[in-house]
């Protein structure tokens, strides 16, 4: 049973978050990132004579490398503060979560530190990524789309 009088006071002094602005920035940054990914993919296909699926792997690895480098150099968190989910949702956010955990826990050693904490944030993404992949795979299978 919440104290209604108190909740009303808290609510009255609750500052407004700029959700619209944050959403728009995330949409634009995420979109630009997607366009860059597509251009890079096309580039890899043309320059190295790769198939699209092979080129997409190279493109993802490039993004992971750049994001991890930015994290290690210490300014990715500042970019995240500006672009928010525009950088956290794409693969850059996944790489960032692992690199930041690796940097944070390296002092506790390779086993109890890095090893057991590397997937501290990314573990959730992997687990539910696999679960939803299975789920949507089943839907496709049942609807008879795809092989």
């Amino acid at each position: 049973m919440k104290n209604k009088k108190y909740e009303a006071i808290v609510k009255k002094h609750q500052p407004k978050e700029k959700r619209m602005q944050h959403g728009l920035v995330a949409f634009l940054v995420g979109g630009v990132l997607g366009v860059c990914g597509e251009l890079l993919l096309e580039g890899y296909v043309n320059w190295f004579d790769l198939s699209r699926s092979e080129a997409s792997v190279y493109m993802l690895v490039t993004f992971i490398f750049i994001a991890s480098l930015c994290t290690a150099l210490g300014f990715f968190d500042k970019l995240v503060n500006f672009a928010r989910c525009g950088l956290l949702i794409p693969i850059t956010g996944f790489a960032h979560s692992m690199t930041s955990a690796a940097i944070e826990y390296r002092k506790e050693g390779p086993v109890y530190g890095l090893g057991s904490n590397l997937f501290k944030l990314a573990g959730t993404v992997i687990l539910y990524g696999v679960v939803s992949a299975w789920f949507f795979g089943m839907i496709r299978f049942l609807l008879g789309i795809g092989g």
Binding site: M1, K2, Y6, H13, D77, V80, S97, I103, K107
Partner: protein, 331 residues
């Protein structure tokens, strides 16, 4: 429970802070500034120990005492098992009491120390506390480099170490009375809105203190809460008025709102927090104000939110507590 003290005075104090605090408006008041958040150490945890140890060493120097002269050390911090306090106090080789009430630790230390001094068990005692923005982030939230976006109501853990030497010898500042706070539960569950969690505890303790001593807010030149932040401060004012009909609009402020510059330092969101937040403001600025006659009597109400990441994930309510101590300039 409010107790009045007759024989407890503040001898010396020292503050050591990090780069964010040094960018704030109180820069010139701190005794020492470490621009490097690592303090030349290998980890955030060791850095926090370094901050606190520096503050303790500086305190000895300011009080012109040797470590063998110290009869007791009371210290606390935010780290698991209050390890920063333990490691930092090792060199003093003095009887040690570790305390914890999150951001209310500084005043809890003064209350415990004052009780020992009042009954004559000891003649002097150090009370200290520390916190480190990044050791706290690591322990309570995400890896520090992750930098997950936070809402405006979130507070920013202050970095530094602060210590105080209490004595039975008369000095310019007297510890006049203190109120031990109660555990308060107002069904709050948001660890990113500590102001709302802790305001009821501050209200309860201020009300109890004023009632026990039959005083009103006007008996104090300044009433300072620990680290409610911008929004918590407004919540407390309105809640005090509506619930107890106590008007805090004249002489009340919050340490979390004083430590940083809101215009320049956007990363602090609602303001400072952590055990050392109120200690940095009080020991660097308010105590000097009592010494030079700016204030005659000040009420410090340190507020703490008591939770662990585990209890938050298990969706338990976040409890809070506030301890108050009244300081007076001696005539």
């Amino acid at each position: 429970m409010t107790h009045q003290f007759q024989n407890v005075y503040i001898d010396s104090y020292s503050t050591v802070c990090g780069p964010y605090e040094a960018d704030g408006p109180l820069r010139k008041n701190f005794d020492k500034i470490h621009q490097d958040l690592y303090c030349g150490e290998d980890s955030w945890e060791q850095a926090e120990v370094h901050y606190l140890e520096d503050s303790l060493k500086l305190l000895l120097k300011k009080a012109s005492l040797e470590k063998d002269d110290i009869e007791m050390v009371i210290s606390g911090d935010l780290m698991n098992q209050i390890t920063a306090s333990c490691y930092a106090s090792l060199f003093l080789n003095a009887p040690f009491l570790g305390i914890y009430s999150a951001c209310a630790t500084s005043v809890e230390g003064i209350l415990v120390g004052s009780t020992f001094l009042e009954n004559g068990t000891i003649n002097n005692c150090i009370t200290a506390c520390s916190s480190h923005n990044l050791s706290s982030e690591k322990q309570f939230r995400n890896p520090t480099e992750y930098g997950a976006p936070k809402p405006k109501t979130a507070t920013f853990t202050a970095t530094g170490g602060a210590s105080l030497l209490l004595t039975r010898k008369k000095t310019k500042i007297k510890v006049e009375s203190g109120t031990v706070g109660k555990m308060v539960d107002f069904d709050q569950t948001d660890p990113l809105h500590m102001g709302a969690v802790m305001a009821p505890a501050a209200a309860d303790t201020i009300y109890q203190h004023l009632k026990d001593l039959k005083r009103s807010p006007s008996d104090y030149d300044l009433i300072l809460t620990g680290d409610l932040g911008l929004y918590g401060r407004e919540i407390l004012k309105e809640y005090m008025q509506k619930t107890y009909e106590i008007d805090l609009s004249q002489n009340y402020n919050d340490c979390g709102c004083l430590l940083y510059d809101y215009e320049k330092q956007k990363e602090v969101n609602a303001g400072g927090s952590g055990p050392v937040c109120s200690a940095l403001v009080n020991y660097s600025t308010i105590l000097k104000g009592l010494e030079d006659g700016t204030y005659k009597r000040v009420l410090l109400v340190a507020t703490g939110a008591l939770f662990s990441p585990t209890t938050v994930f298990q969706k338990d309510h976040i409890l809070s507590i506030a301890h108050a101590v009244s300081l007076e300039a001696t005539k």
